[in-house]
């Protein structure tokens, strides 16, 4: 007898979501409840971060990723991530370790020190892929259609590339997040430079450039008068949300209507909201408050 149902996953929260933006974790747990899948929490460590740790010491990056993969392997569970960084690291390390014997032998020697062995028998999934697979079920579950709302979606680099390994969508012309917004009856609006990186990767090492990159993106989103920016990664979330607050403070620029900032929402939050969950505490923890609830009220959809 298998220990878990067929639709069971090890929920990989990562560091940024539980330790900084717990409202994304809460929303994800709520949204998951609406569907027929089970999740299990395991004592995972940092994924680790595909940029910082991999740049500092690539072998450590692979060994720590393998350590996490082993924890899920021991439970016979695929991993479900809520963050592009965790998704990229675990997927790429999993593939490298599965297909490159030299690397696997080396890493397993390191893991031997802590009594673990990478076997390569599980898959890594991003929660967005799972929601997309289940999208035909969503229309019947919607309690709050988002028909009056315009959203600017941002996929994030580490959800799409390296495309050969991640295989999530077309790396230059992805559609699955747009479709997931549409399934909630929201409008996913086109905007220029949609495929451009958010610049979060150089936030710590080259802050002025990081700011210029996000300014480029925000200027385009601003032109569309979007009600919110939809992301699927906490690092993109931070870049868009803190980015706007810092740009307002340091440069006096805002990109939303009436001198306001544009709210930023992780797709799991948007979905949980549309499914009818009470999201007041989650949305209350955002630094940029949501402004589109007025529109929802007009449509008689109830408040956040």
């Amino acid at each position: 007898m298998p220990r878990y149902s067929e639709n069971a996953f090890a929920l990989f929260l990562g560091c940024t979501i539980p330790l900084r933006f717990p409202f994304i974790e809460s929303a994800s747990r709520k949204a998951i409840k609406a569907f027929d899948f089970e999740t299990k929490d395991l004592p995972f460590g940092c994924c680790p971060d595909p940029l910082g740790v991999q740049s500092f010491d690539k072998e450590t990056w692979a060994a720590l990723a393998a350590h996490n993969l082993c924890l899920a392997e021991e439970e016979d569970l695929d991993i479900l991530t809520l963050c592009n960084g965790c998704f990229e690291t675990l997927s790429v390390a999993n593939a490298e370790l599965q297909h490159n014997d030299k690397i696997r032998i080396r890493v397993n020697k390191i893991l031997g020190e802590v009594g673990k062995e990478f076997k390569g028998k599980i898959n890594v999934r991003h929660i967005i892929q799972e929601f997309h697979d289940l999208r035909t079920l969503i229309p019947d579950l919607i309690a709050r259609p988002l028909a009056n709302c315009k959203f600017a979606v941002h996929y994030g680099c580490h959800f799409l590339r390296p495309a050969e390994i991640l295989q999530t969508d077309h790396s230059e012309h992805p559609v699955i997040l747009d479709e997931l917004v549409q399934v909630l009856q929201g409008n996913s609006i086109p905007y220029l430079k949609k495929g451009l990186c958010c610049g979060a990767g150089v936030y710590g090492t080259d802050f002025p450039t990081s700011t210029k990159i996000i300014q480029e993106k925000l200027a385009e989103v601003g032109k569309t008068r979007a009600d919110a920016i939809i992301v699927i990664c906490p690092t993109c979330f931070r870049q868009y949300e803190s980015g706007q607050i810092l740009i307002k403070r340091n440069h006096g620029e805002t990109y939303g209507d009436n001198g306001r900032e544009i709210p930023v929402i992780h797709y799991a939050e948007l979905l949980a909201f549309a499914l009818g969950f009470n999201m007041s505490e989650e949305f209350n923890q955002h630094r940029i408050k949501l402004s589109f609830n007025e529109k929802l009220l007009e449509g008689g959809m109830g408040t956040i």
Partner: protein, 168 residues
């Protein structure tokens, strides 16, 4: 998986015909010309690795992988830059923000510490407690891979100059 030798890296960039596609799509280059992916390849081909590692420019790559995805010659520059950053870290040139992250990783097994405010927020949403990672195991791994030595000497401002290890 250890740092690749310079010869190996140069081998991988040989197909480059200097079209500049990598630079054209780079989110950093358009805003900070100090990171010029095409010129980086040129310097590497001419063996000017010392010049490249003289400053922290390689650390200004945000690892978006656009260059690797777009290159008509399949040069995986994003990962070559990861190798170069590893070289740079070995030389003790790691930027402070990265070192700070590594310190927290070693201390907690995560890259953020749990603050009282977040704990309160988690309680308000009835979230379960955070499962602590296997810190002992993680720290053992950090010791075995040489991460610890690299971090300690980087923090002490010392440079590690031993020659790079060829892939096993």
């Amino acid at each position: 998986m250890a740092i690749q030798s310079m010869d190996k890296i140069v081998c991988q960039i040989r197909p480059c015909y200097q079209c500049g596609t990598c630079a054209g799509g780079c989110p950093v280059f358009r805003n900070n010309p100090d990171l010029n992916p095409r010129m980086l390849i040129e310097k590497l081909l001419f063996g000017q690795i010392d010049k490249i590692l003289q400053n922290q420019d390689v650390w200004n790559c945000c690892f978006c992988l656009t260059c690797s995805q777009h290159c008509p010659q399949s040069v995986d520059l994003a990962h070559i830059l990861i190798e170069l950053k590893n070289y740079s870290a070995k030389e003790g040139i790691t930027p402070k923000s990265i070192l700070d992250e590594m310190k927290i990783l070693k201390k907690t097994g995560m890259t953020f510490e749990l603050s009282k405010m977040v704990l309160k927020r988690r309680k308000k949403m009835n979230l379960p407690g955070i499962l602590p990672p296997d810190l002992n195991g993680i720290q053992k791994i950090l010791k075995t891979t040489g991460f610890d030595d690299r971090l300690n000497s980087s923090l002490a401002g010392k440079q590690i100059t031993e020659t790079s290890e060829e892939e096993a």
